[in-house]
Every structure is written in C-alpha cells, then in structure tokens.
C-alpha cells in the first residue's frame, strides 16, 4: 500500500537534538526541536541572560551570481541593494504585483555574489519566483550543503570570539567569511531575538562538531522553536505567515523603513505603484504592539474591538513574554486606533478583555553597533 505521508526532512543537527532530549515537531516540512528539557520559558530567559544556540537550518540559503544580480534582485524587493557595501546585510521582503509580501529575507553583499536567507516555509516558492524573474544572466544557486545556526544573547560575542577573535569587531548587520574552530563559516552579526548575536552558515558535515563546541561553553544552552517565537515576539519582529503575508503590504506591516530612499523615488519593484501610493497617502490599517491588561494571553486571530464593541482588527501573534513576565501580542488595527495609548478590547473566549496599543518592541533591542 502506498504511503502518502510526506517524510519530514532532517537538518544536519537532528541527531544532536534527539540526544539532547528535544521534543521534536513538524515545522515547514522539517522535524525540528520545539523545546529541550530546559523548557520554553527557561530557554527564553537563558537567551536574554547569556547565550542560546538555535538550529535554523530549515531556512533557505541562496547565492545569486552574475554581473547584473543587484539590479535584477531590486526588481523583486523594495530595499536599496546597490548601496549595500561588501560585507553588509539588509532585512528586506519579496513583494508581488499587489504590493503585498511573498516572504521576508536577509540580503548580504558577499562581495562577488549576493547571499540570501529566506524562510523555510516559503523557500520553494521564493526560488521559483526568483528563477522566473531574475534575468540578464543572473545565476541562482541553492545552498543545500550548509546548515545554519544562530548564537544569540549578551554573551554570544564573548563565546564566539573564543573560537574566532575577529567576530568581536563585527558590527550589527555585517557579514564575513571566517574560520570558526577551523571550520569555514559565513558569519552574519544578526539574528531574530532582539539580542546581539550571530547567524552562522556552516558545511553540513561539520555542523554538529561546531554545535557541540559551542554548547560545551558554559554560557550556551540549546534553544528550540518555542523560545525562538516568544523571543522574536518580545522583540516586535514579524513572523512571516502570521504578521505579514500576501494580504499585507510593507506599509500596513509598519515596515516603511525597508523601503529605502532611492527606491521611494524610483520605484521599479513589484507592487511599487501600490506601495508608494500607500507611503504617500497612508494605509487603512497598521501593525501595532498590543499589551493585554491582566494575565490572560490573547492568541492569533483574537478579534480587536473598539470601545463601542466594533471589530477594528485582529491579533496576528500573541502569547506570553517571559522577559516581560506577562501577555504580549501584535496585530493589525484600523489606522485611527493605531496610536500608542489607545484603549481597545480583545475578545478572548467570548469575553471582552481590556488591552492597550503600545510601541514595539516589548523588550529593548540590544544589537551591537560598535
């Protein structure tokens, strides 16, 4: 009898996760650790206090070669990629003709090529999208022989510098090819927790060796997807598929800052007519931080109401923030309710519960800017 169940993919660190006692769950087609024995709350707090090691190998790594790579990629993203110097990284998004978001991504000028990191759940579609739209001799290489891990937290730099002293001088959103413990890595000083830290691309066959070396340092604990989500929510960072997707534009998503000056003047990216019109004239709704009063968390899809009980929006990510020690959320509200300090109600299990629109992030960013 045919087995129609799709086999889950395993990252190069799968055996290590199991050995460490991780609870494994399916995520974007991969069998991934959602938590280790320390637990989501403990892992979250440890990352903010010391350093956490995350396996993010499920994310896609792509290289773009070719003389015209920058101009071609700029057709698909609203960021100024031409201005990026070698060794610099930028957060951006693939937009479509409707002006909404196909994925968010990191773009690095790696000197002779562009190095992209894209979301796991979107990577197949992103690659089809790029292959269909990148012309003029641009070559796309899917990097599937490298794992990706993130070392995040206030002790991340100190720990990683023990293996590669030069990482200490890297500034936030910079990139370098560096040997770590004798292993050839692509290192970006970035991450998705709001903390200082690094993302490290490492050959699959040496990934476990590097992970074990880092975990052997006393400051470092293995951290699962559960804490990755609560950390990024406290940091006010978007999760693609929840907080931004093909129904939201960058302007609605409060990502105006990813549309750089030259691109605002010139346009020329997918959906730029719609997006630039929203930039000039405003959008009808906006992504905001939402702080529930009291202790009850409000989860995604919770309706947001005004004082008259009318629905004015919806929560897109919501849960408990261990560092904040209380419930936190973000979501979309009609623009007239988007100002911080606005009182709203959240409809949780049939009961309207008070909440307030707040500035993001909930936990201050602590990036290293040199």
């Amino acid at each position: 009898m045919a087995d129609h169940q799709t086999e889950l993919l395993k990252t190069a660190l799968y055996d290590l996760h199991v050995e460490l006692g991780a609870k494994m769950v399916p995520f974007a087609g991969y069998d991934m650790p959602v938590q280790y024995p320390l637990g989501v709350k403990g892992e979250h707090l440890h990352t903010r206090a010391k350093a956490g090691l995350f396996d993010v190998s499920h994310m896609g790594q792509v290289r773009l070669n070719g003389e015209h790579r920058v101009a071609e990629l700029e057709k698909l993203v609203p960021g100024d990629i031409a201005i990026l110097k070698p060794g610099r990284t930028r957060y951006s998004a693939f937009t479509n003709d409707d002006g909404t978001i196909l994925d968010d991504l990191m773009i690095t000028n790696a000197g002779d090529s562009l190095f992209l990191v894209i979301n796991a759940a979107c990577k197949d579609d992103d690659i089809v999208h790029m292959r269909a739209n990148l012309d003029n001799g641009v070559e796309l290489i899917e990097i599937d022989d490298r794992a990706l891990m993130a070392l995040q937290g206030p002790d991340a730099a100190r720990v990683l510098a023990r293996f590669a002293p030069s990482v200490a001088d890297m500034k936030f959103m910079s990139f370098a090819e560096i040997d770590i413990a004798g292993i050839a890595c692509f290192v970006t000083r970035s991450g998705y927790t709001g903390e200082d830290g690094y993302e490290i691309s490492v050959p699959n066959e040496r990934a476990e060796e590097l992970a074990r070396k880092l975990l052997a340092e006393e400051e470092v604990e293995a951290i699962g997807l559960g804490a990755r989500d609560s950390l990024r929510l406290e940091a006010g960072l978007c999760l693609y598929g929840n907080d931004i997707d093909t129904t939201t534009t960058p302007v609605e998503g409060d990502l105006n800052w990813i549309i750089n000056k030259r691109r605002r003047e010139e346009g020329g990216f997918k959906g730029s007519d719609i997006i630039l019109d929203q930039l000039a004239n405003g959008a009808d709704r906006k992504r905001v931080g939402i702080k529930p009063e009291g202790k009850a968390p409000a989860r995604e899809h919770t309706p947001v109401l005004n004082s008259d009980g009318e629905e004015i929006g919806e929560i897109t990510s919501g849960g408990f923030g261990p560092t904040v020690d209380g419930p936190i959320a973000m979501g979309y509200v009609a623009i007239e309710f988007a100002a911080p300090g606005t009182k709203v109600d959240l409809m949780v299990r049939g009961k309207a519960r008070p909440a307030e629109i707040v500035e993001l992030p909930f936990a201050p960013h602590r990036y290293y800017r040199g």
């Binding site: 959602v34 938590q35 637990g39 989501v40 709350k41 403990g42 979250h44 559960g226 804490a227 989500d229 609560s230 202790k295 009850a296 968390p297 989860r299 849960g319 408990f320 261990p322 419930p327 299990r349």
Partner: protein, 123 residues
C-alpha cells in the same frame, strides 16, 4: 477515596461529597511552563466532557474538560498568582476546582491509577 483519572488527563479526588479536579503530571509535562489558568466561576454548572477551564503555556492555550457532571463550589485562587503551581504540584496544591457531583455513579466510568498509567504508556 483514591484518585480517579480521565482519558483527557484530568484527575478527580472524591471526599465528603465534593470532587477536587486537576490535571495530571503527564498533562503538565506535555503542556510545559504554564503561565495562566482560567478557572470556572463558583456556581457554574459543568457537563461531563464539556469545557471547564483553560490552561495556557507560553506557546498555546488548551482546554480542560469536566470529568463529571456537577456544579463548581470552589476554584483554586492560588493559581491566579502562581500558575506555575500546576507544573510544580499538579496532583496536589495545583488543583483547579472543586465540584458537587450530580451523579456519583459517573466516578465508576473513570480509570484508577493503574489503568491510567497503562493508558498513558499506550499513547
């Protein structure tokens, strides 16, 4: 009376006409760090296998069902301030609510400790 257990991982301890209800150690372990418990109000009528409480971990909200028919006579207010008590002492201080039963014979439909242990091992 010895504790009884439901397939939904609630425990019941019946004494002097009142049943104390909580979630099992197995349940708290699968849920992880509990950050909020929403308890039923005193006087609320509960139906066996109907919604009774909600328990929230960092990641998700889960329903807790009433293991028996009855009326809530007390809720564990201690959990408002210290929901982690459910992780620390799920089958004692971390109880959820107490109820008066409408039909004591329903207790016979629940598992004893040995049967629950077998049930969990089979999951």
């Amino acid at each position: 009376m010895a504790k009884k257990f439901s397939q939904e991982h609630e425990w019941v301890e019946y004494e002097d006409g009142v049943a104390t209800v909580g979630i099992t150690d197995y349940a708290q372990q699968s849920l992880g760090d509990i950050v909020y418990v929403e308890l039923p109000e005193v006087g609320k009528k509960l139906t066996k296998d109907g919604d009774a409480a909600v328990v929230e971990s960092v990641k998700a909200a889960s329903d807790v069902y009433a293991p028996l028919d009855g009326v809530v006579v007390e809720a564990n207010e201690e959990l408002d301030d210290n929901p982690a008590l459910v992780n620390e002492a799920p089958e004692s201080d971390g109880w959820f609510f107490r109820m008066e039963l409408s039909d004591e014979s329903q207790l016979d439909e629940l598992m004893d400790e040995a049967a629950y242990k077998d049930f969990v091992e089979g999951l």
